[in-house]
Subunit: 224 residues, 2 copies
């Protein structure tokens, strides 16, 4: 089974580089969050809301991952201390950010002057589950219009999440989404995951999410 | 660059099997549509609407691709002549259906008694763009809540599409989505793509979509 061996080697190499990234980040006391979701679930909107709420309390940088374009990086560049855009278009089979891309991005970032890096992964519920980046926390956004069955259909990304955000709560009366059923599916896969109900459009629930991030960042800094 | 060679080999092997699938389908006069989208954009709903409108005119089977679960196959099993579920969970790095999975599924299908197979690919805008399955037509669904920038951020899947469906038109007054801008982006990448505005919830636009599918199926059958 040659193909599986190759994939295994890629994943092992990725883990090694992810550990190295984590050591570098811990040395500089920088807390890193890997934000994952399907396309259009609200990663950029969550990054923007988080920047606006927390930029007076923390020095925040953003790493924007996209297959193509810099539209997300342009949206956040006025709000963050530093923004690095990663385009994966010319990397065959890159359906996730990988640790080696983050290693390269970190070289361009003023780590001594940062407290928090938000990484916006590619819009994909499959591949990012398999590639550690060196992050401290993994966050998955699900949005109401996608339907409540995503944890059943894409379980791995939910199994390893530290937090799950239900976004687009402003559409709750316009779509069929059973919040209790969704929460039960997440709890069944991952009882420790924090679940937040938010609307990046109206700001609903953003304060609770930002309090959690702030608490996690402080707890990580204290431990070191 | 060993990794790239390996990926190249996988893609080449996939193309060979896809051509073989296509020959088999043409021999049996079965028209096949590969339906792709982000998670939750409405692939299963489109399959259901298409089955309900066209099952009196065509003998239709469905191949359901999912990372895990059979929830979609269960939804369509009463409406189709045959349903095959493919779960990719235990195949490392399977972020798309691949031609070899379709080859295996076709062995279980009554090809002599079928006119149309609808393939529901995995919910992903990246990998499925690269893997031909042997299909006659490729369809991408984008849904309004995802935002109008998806062709800019995930161009490849739009470049090769024969049709692009804008779904969830019932939410048009509740979300920010510039339909003209989206259409311009698609036309810039792929001027030949047909674009349909539909709501799988209300049925809006489904008739035009089904007329197109019916016309394409007949045109393909006539040519052989």
């Amino acid at each position: 089974m040659k193909k599986i061996e190759v994939v295994q080697n890629v994943l092992e190499a990725n883990e090694t580089i992810a550990s190295r990234n984590r050591q570098l980040l811990d040395k500089h006391n920088v807390f890193v969050v890997n934000i994952m979701s399907a396309p259009g679930a609200g990663k950029t909107s969550l990054v923007l809301q988080t920047l606006r709420r927390l930029r007076d309390k923390l020095n925040i940088a953003v790493i924007e991952g996209d297959v193509a374009s810099a539209v997300d990086a342009e949206k956040v560049q006025n709000e963050a201390k530093a923004v690095v855009q990663i385009n994966t278009r010319n990397m065959p089979e890159s359906c996730s950010l990988m640790a080696i891309m983050i290693e390269s991005a970190l070289k361009d970032m003023p780590l001594d002057n940062l407290d928090l890096i938000l990484i916006e992964n590619l819009g994909n519920l499959i591949c990012p589950a398999e590639f550690a980046l060196g992050e401290h926390k993994r966050v998955v956004i699900a949005s109401l219009p996608e339907g409540d069955d995503k944890p059943i259909k894409y379980p791995l990304i939910f199994v390893d999440a530290d937090a799950v955000i239900i976004n687009k709560m402003d559409l709750v009366s316009h779509v069929d989404f059973d919040i209790a059923a969704f929460r039960r599916s997440v709890a069944g896969l991952n009882p420790k995951a924090e679940v937040f109900e938010v609307s990046c459009k109206t700001g609903e629930g953003i304060e609770e999410w930002c309090s959690w991030i702030l608490g996690q960042a402080k707890a990580t800094a204290t431990k070191q």
